[in-house]
């Protein structure tokens, strides 16, 4: 039962922060894709900036392990592009759709229903995909520092600085 309780408590905090960051909204998601309102990028990049430092510190202290998803070039590219195409029309991503319904934007219920249908369809397609597309460009659980053959702490400050410069750009352009 600990597993479920921990998930629930983490989710409540996550949901409240998503809501307070105002990223649950259709206009913020589509606004980013129209390159007019970068709220969701500011939110995501701030989370990544703090989280990458925090998680790598936790790993260095032996408090946690990394668990990167495997790189499958074919599936990451094709799946990623399909996601983007659907995302623009739907106006929500999987996590934010649930939060959007909670905020009263009940049209997100249709997005949730569509995503359940999409997951069901994928389950039917999986046995076929597994034998071909999913096997293309399978490189295993790679990380950027691993590929560059450097320490993670050499990558973190560079990426962090790049993110901060992007923030400055966003604010200059009032995006």
């Amino acid at each position: 039962m600990n597993e479920q309780w921990l998930g629930l408590i983490t989710g409540i905090c996550f949901g409240a922060l998503l809501q307070q960051g105002r990223v649950l909204r259709f206009e913020k998601q589509v606004g980013a894709m129209l390159l007019q309102d970068m709220t969701i990028m500011k939110f995501m990049m701030s989370a990544i900036l703090v989280g990458m430092v925090g998680i790598h510190l936790a790993v260095a202290l032996g408090l946690a392990q990394l668990s990167p998803k495997a790189t499958q070039i074919g599936a990451n590219l094709v799946g990623g592009i399909l996601f983007g195409l659907g995302w623009a029309v739907m106006g929500f991503c999987p996590g934010t759709s649930i939060g959007a319904v909670a905020e009263g934007r009940w049209h997100a219920l249709f997005a949730v229903a569509g995503m359940l249908a999409g997951a069901a369809l994928y389950a039917e397609a999986y046995p076929y995909l597994e034998k071909n597309l999913l096997a293309v460009g399978g490189l295993g659980k790679l990380t950027l520092p691993g590929v560059l053959d450097v320490n993670a702490w050499a990558v973190i400050p560079v990426l962090g600085l790049a993110f901060i410069l992007v923030f400055v750009f966003f604010e200059k352009k009032e995006l």
Partner: protein, 179 residues
Amino acid sequence: MKKRVNLRPYIAGALVGVLATLSVIASTQVLGKTQFLGASTTFVRGAGFIEQSVNPEHVKANLYFIKEKVKIDWQFMLIVGIFIGALGAALIDGSFKFEAVPPVWRERFGDSVVRRAVGAFAGGIVAMFGARMADGCPSGHGLSGLMQLSLSGFIALACFFGAGVLMAALVYRGKRGVR
């Protein structure tokens, strides 16, 4: 004419970074299994539960449902929590609002709830099919992937956003003043 910088997305985002770190530590220490924020696998389990109520044999035999396991796990409860947390926060600060058709959509496609429903449903099918193929969504690949400096996260997030920008230009083109 300089506008004050709106710190809201930065602060809420940074706190998600703190939450992700605490969550990774807590799950490792308490459960012995490190859990990273994610969302899309739960839709597979949700679909599995629905199908199970109609045809349990089919779910039992499907390779993908066997691989992902149809159960109420950490991430499933995370999603339940997102609903509760977002609802609570929206009620407390008064930003809860019933909305059937978002303004940006209305400008382009009009008031029809049916049209918005079809768009959301169809977009949802394509997006989730893609997310499962890519093995993650903007939470799992975007947030958790990039926090771990995972190569798959960088590739997936670039594709999500690149294709999203292209599709948004095609679908909503000619509309101004999105806020």
